[in-house]
């Protein structure tokens, strides 16, 4: 009986194991090997760290990375600022009967793909788009302005795309906050800001950190939104990787960029955890 049970376990674990090894671990190893190979002057492939060296040597590469990281942090902060009041309203203010309904409303836009959502924004914001049309009709604007293809629209798109991943962990963590703590604070004469910084945020920190990690990583690895909404000035680091693979046919350089992205973003996350004095194991629970 015991022996047969082991076989069953093996049978059901095998797909997961194969999935992980064949589709994730092996390709990663292949990429890692590829990132340490480069062509020498004679056109032969040799072991080399020149792909990694190129990143630090060529300003456009590391400047693009810095820009991508700073914008991702900014997007994370903005998403948090918008998501906290929303999550607080749903868990604490609104009647429990409507909680499910409001959460559903938040989920609704995510039933369509990211591509469709981005094109939706493009239709709204383009020069001959819906927003411009109404502003012209109302007489606010004399002539249409281009709202797309700017850093601010790109950030708007990224915040919109990642909202959900901040709201959901905040909902969970705020739900466990005891209302009587807030009431007691009011009784003792605390104002709204004191309650926010002394009670709500300290209690919600694990949720905030886990939401921030997800939003930061998603934004950093996003390709579609910066490319479509950012237009001519939006060089995102993922686009650099794409260019190396597709336009320059330089897979070795592209792999090195991929690993640098992984490594550098891990450092940012680690710094974030250190600063907020959280432990990764506790946050991801």
């Amino acid at each position: 009986m015991k022996r047969k049970f082991r076989w069953g376990l093996f049978f059901f674990l095998a797909p997961v194991f194969l999935w992980l090894v064949l589709l994730i671990v092996l390709p990663q190893i292949d990429l890692l090997i590829m990132s340490f190979r480069a062509e020498d002057d004679l056109g032969d492939m040799v072991w080399s760290i020149s792909n990694y060296f190129n990143f630090f040597d060529e300003p456009i590469y590391w400047l693009t990375f810095v820009r991508t990281a700073i914008y991702s942090i900014l997007v994370t902060l903005l998403t948090f600022t918008i998501a906290l009041p929303v999550a607080f309203y749903i868990t604490k203010v609104v009647h429990p009967r409507f909680q499910g309904f409001l959460t559903l409303l938040l989920l609704l836009p995510f039933w369509v793909s990211e591509l469709v959502r981005v094109y939706g924004w493009m239709i709204l914001l383009r020069e001959s788009g819906v927003v411009n049309h109404f502003l012209l009709k109302l007489g606010v604007l004399g002539k249409p302005v281009e709202m797309l293809y700017q850093d601010s629209t790109m950030i708007l798109g990224l915040v919109y795309t990642s909202m959900l991943f901040m709201v959901v962990p905040l909902l969970a963590v705020l739900d466990s906050l005891d209302n009587s703590l807030i009431e007691a604070a009011y009784d003792l004469g605390a104002n709204m800001w004191t309650i926010l910084f002394k009670i709500i945020i300290p209690h919600a920190t694990p949720g905030i950190v886990s939401g921030s990690i997800v939003v930061f990583m998603l934004t950093l690895g996003n390709y579609l939104t910066p490319n479509l909404m950012g237009g001519k000035n939006s060089l995102w680091f993922t686009e650099q990787i794409y260019n190396q693979f597709i336009a320059s046919f330089n897979w070795n350089q592209g792999s090195a960029f991929g690993f640098l992205l992984l490594f550098l973003s891990s450092i940012v996350i680690w710094l974030g955890l250190k600063l907020s004095r959280q432990k990764l194991g506790k946050v991801v629970q």
């Binding site: 456009i60 320059s248 046919f249």
Partner: protein, 356 residues
Amino acid sequence: MKKMLWIALIVSFCLIFHISSATAGGTLELLTWKGYAPKNLVDKFQDETGITVKVTYSNNEEMIAKLRATRGAGFDLAQPSQDRISSVQEKYNLYQPIDLSKVKTDQIIPSMLEAVKKNTMVAGKPHAVPFCWGTSGLVVNRKYAPNAGDYSDLLNAFYNGRVSYRLKRPTLIALSFAVGENPFAKYSDAAAYTALMDRVGQAMIDGKPFVKNYWTNGDALLEAMRSGEVHLAMAWDGAGWKLHDENPNIDFIAPKSGALGWIDTFALPAKAKNVDAAYEWINFMLRPENAAAFTNAEKYGTASNGAVQYLDASVRGNFERCFPMEAIVNIKWYPPVPAKLEEIEGKILDKVKAAR
């Protein structure tokens, strides 16, 4: 427990069997450009031969990347441009030689067939036959840009915020011709080519403020021209003629320094599974009435011999209007791209994109 295990095993075997039975049989995996496999022709082909065509849309760079990732497997037929075949073939061995005895060569314009054979010759064997041709030049809205005549106008402050082009190698080539250089002559000299590209890249950075956007998707460009957001773009002739049908103010023009001529081909990936179906499709698409149906819809020139008689008058009108004799003589046909150029160009294009 044991029963459960058996059920799970049977279900998974059924799944595996189902997947393998679905991919076998009469399908043609076609890797091509948007518009190159119109629905009506795909249906007609299926009626005639019983072969289902599965179409994947792509562009030159992605075609190479896709085939390189699988070492030439996954597709039965690809349609790269003729200048992008020989160097990648030498380096990555993506294609197999084409057997001209299986292609109805009398359906193909002889001079074009010879040119493509010569340019895709690797190890003494041709690797492609031509399908269609066209040029890159300027698409202009005459109402707003009556004086635009050359690629240099793409960098002209007069069209501030109304210019669009692709951040791809044709733009670099076009702007090189516009400053009076011949980039094709420098293909073999990497140092001279890098210097020329640096110069063109700097001009593009200086002209960046006037650009509306760098288009990546043909449909999006058509929409921007239609709505009047873009007045001047570098694009394919077929795109300009499509717009001309809708709005007579918009038209394609062959620039003063020469339109850039390309030929898109049929090439067989190295590990194509259904080679017979691929030859069937080649012969089907080059049959005069089918080739003419494609050209009437997409406006690109065809390599099919004898398709002219089936063409709409407006399509013939497009060629006559936009390509007087001196413009035809002035077309710059792409020679095969040697290896390494893409890397030089890629770096310049990254710099342009990153510039403020």
